[in-house]
């Protein structure tokens, strides 16, 4: 019996460990950081992901197939739109930082942010990943990262049934890490959700949702620029 209990504990413990991870809360940007003109700041902007679609809430295989089929025309249309305006945020950000007199190192290398080795030190606002290697490699004191992880359409479902209207979502994070202390000096989640204003059932071109898509892009750009260089 003890063996069974031990086995049960061993098997279920990892499930509870997953819940114990503390989320990183937002860290407001201290504009004084930009006052230090002696420092070198690395800027890394990850590639904008392909436009995707999600149907959260479709909780079984048949539900998922039904929800995907219902959402397919919208998903297909949104995927034809351009993220060119969102890609331009990198150039705008760099230009505005340079206007502030910052000495920038723009990192053009492809970096898989998920594969950076974990930081052994834990604590409040301590980065989960170890960015100290970037300081050495690029000769930077701070690293600014903009990581957009999702661009696309979303429609919530309760099993087979759509719950509410479809919307456009852009999400990701941006943060400034001190490469010496490995602490966040800014951490902001980007989470834009935009519905069509008024009607949205306008197949095949969905003008309301198309406008929502480009509105979401502009709102994301404004968020990124306001929170970093909008001071």
């Amino acid at each position: 019996m003890k063996r069974v209990l031990s086995l049960f504990l061993v098997l279920t413990l990892p499930l509870f460990v997953g819940c114990a991870v503390t989320p990183q809360y937002n860290v407001s940007f201290d504009e004084q950081v930009w006052e230090n003109k002696e420092q070198k700041v690395g800027v890394y902007v990850s590639a904008i992901p392909k436009i995707r679609s999600q149907v959260p809430g479709a909780g079984c295989l048949l539900c998922l197939a039904t929800a995907s089929a219902i959402h397919a025309p919208i998903a297909k249309h949104i995927k034809t739109q351009s993220t060119e305006d969102l890609q331009s945020v990198k150039a705008e950000l760099i230009a505005k930082l340079r206007d502030k007199g910052m000495d920038l190192v723009v990192i053009e290398d492809e970096i898989d942010l998920r594969k950076i080795k974990n930081n052994k030190v834990k604590g409040e606002n301590v980065a989960k990943k170890d960015y100290s290697a970037f300081g050495t490699k690029y000769g930077i004191d701070r690293l600014f990262v903009l990581d957009i992880t999702y661009v696309g359409s979303v429609r919530n479902f309760a099993n087979y049934i759509p719950v509410g209207d479809p919307f456009v979502s852009i999400s990701g994070t941006m943060y400034l890490v001190n490469t010496t202390t490995n602490t966040y000096e800014m951490y902001e989640a980007i989470n834009i959700q935009k519905f069509a204003e008024g009607k949205w059932k306008e197949a095949p071109n969905y003008p309301g949702l198309t406008n929502a898509f480009y509105t979401a892009i502009e709102l994301a750009k404004d968020d990124i620029l306001d929170l970093t260089v909008g001071y």
Partner: protein, 317 residues
């Protein structure tokens, strides 16, 4: 006066037939349309006013979240899924109705002014404005389709107005349809048919051009800031503002309807403010001035929106 019900029926038929949200142009506009028009407004007495629906903080996540589906057999399963869908849709619709009703509430203060804005008021002011100046729009307009013998085309207009909650912005949305005078007989016949609610054998009148003109008039925006001393829509100026926008919307139609075929260019993102609310819309730019952009929207409508004014900078140059 007995002509009004007939006229109403007639117009209702026309707008029900061109109720599509997409601009249409059935054939090229004849040259003879450049001179004179007759004009009728669809809503004879009550011009529609509503509150601006600000979707910034609105979540459409209505509906019923969870549901247990009965699985005794395929029939009962399907029935419970359908019941879930119906309840969810109903809750969603109820939430939207409530949102709309709440957005309109503040307009009760302006009821007396709204009642003075009639079709006669708008038409008379428009005609007066055309007669009172050397208009850039070389047209003359007479108020009714009864006067069609002197006009070369007939415009049916259905204006409606939206006022923002902070009463700093008024927006006109004017559905317009242009008919060849040859269609006037059909228009009248359609009206009579509608009145009789009987036969539906004859054809419905076909507009040469139909579209929606939207003009956003920010009274108070200076940059992005709407200050306490800003000019606002009120009982004293609602009529004049409405009349001015109606005038502009018809001019917008008359100056842009010929260009419809030439505007399939690349859509771009146009940013503007409605009051203090930031808005984005995709469209093909038709005209840019120092404080306005006119563009063709994705729905094909013609829209004129305010831009941060650069008029003084241009004047200095």
């Amino acid at each position: 006066m007995s002509k009004f019900p007939l006229l109403f029926s007639c117009i209702a038929v026309v707008f029900s037939s061109c109720g599509s949200t997409v601009a249409t142009k059935e054939e090229s506009i004849p040259k003879e349309f450049v001179d004179a028009y007759s004009l009728t407004i669809a809503d004879e007495n009550n011009i529609n006013y509503s509150g601006y629906l600000n979707y910034d903080n609105y979540s459409n996540q209505a509906g019923v979240n969870g549901a247990m589906y009965s699985g005794y057999n395929a029939g009962s399963f399907l029935a419970t899924v359908l019941a879930h869908a119906m309840v969810s849709k109903s809750v969603d619709a109820k939430k939207k109705r409530k949102f709309k009703a709440e957005s309109d509430e503040f307009l009760s203060v302006y009821e007396s002014s709204i009642n003075t804005v009639t079709s006669g008021f708008l038409t008379a002011n428009f005609i007066e404005s055309l007669e009172g100046e050397n208009s850039s729009v070389p047209v003359s307009v007479v108020p009714s389709m009864e006067a069609h013998q002197i006009g070369k085309g007939h415009i049916l207009s259905q204006p409606s107005f939206v006022v923002t909650q902070d009463v700093t912005t008024i927006i006109i949305s004017n559905r317009v349809a242009l008919f060849n005078h040859g269609e006037l007989g059909v228009l009248k016949a359609a009206g009579e048919r509608k009145k009789r609610k009987g036969s539906s054998s004859s054809r419905t009148p076909k507009p040469v051009y139909s579209n929606t003109m939207v003009i956003i008039n920010n009274l108070a925006t200076e940059g992005d800031v709407v200050g306490d001393n800003a000019v606002r829509v009120g009982n004293d100026n609602l009529g004049a503002l409405s009349s001015e926008l109606f005038d502009q919307s018809l001019r917008l139609m008359l100056t842009n309807m010929d260009a419809q075929d030439d505007v399939d260019g690349k859509a771009e993102t146009i940013k503007f403010h409605i009051g203090s609310n930031f808005r984005v819309e995709r469209g093909v730019v038709l005209e840019k001035t120092c404080d306005r952009v006119v563009f063709k929207t994705l729905r094909g409508w013609i829209k004129s929106v305010p831009q941060e004014s650069q008029c003084s900078e241009q004047a200095q140059l």
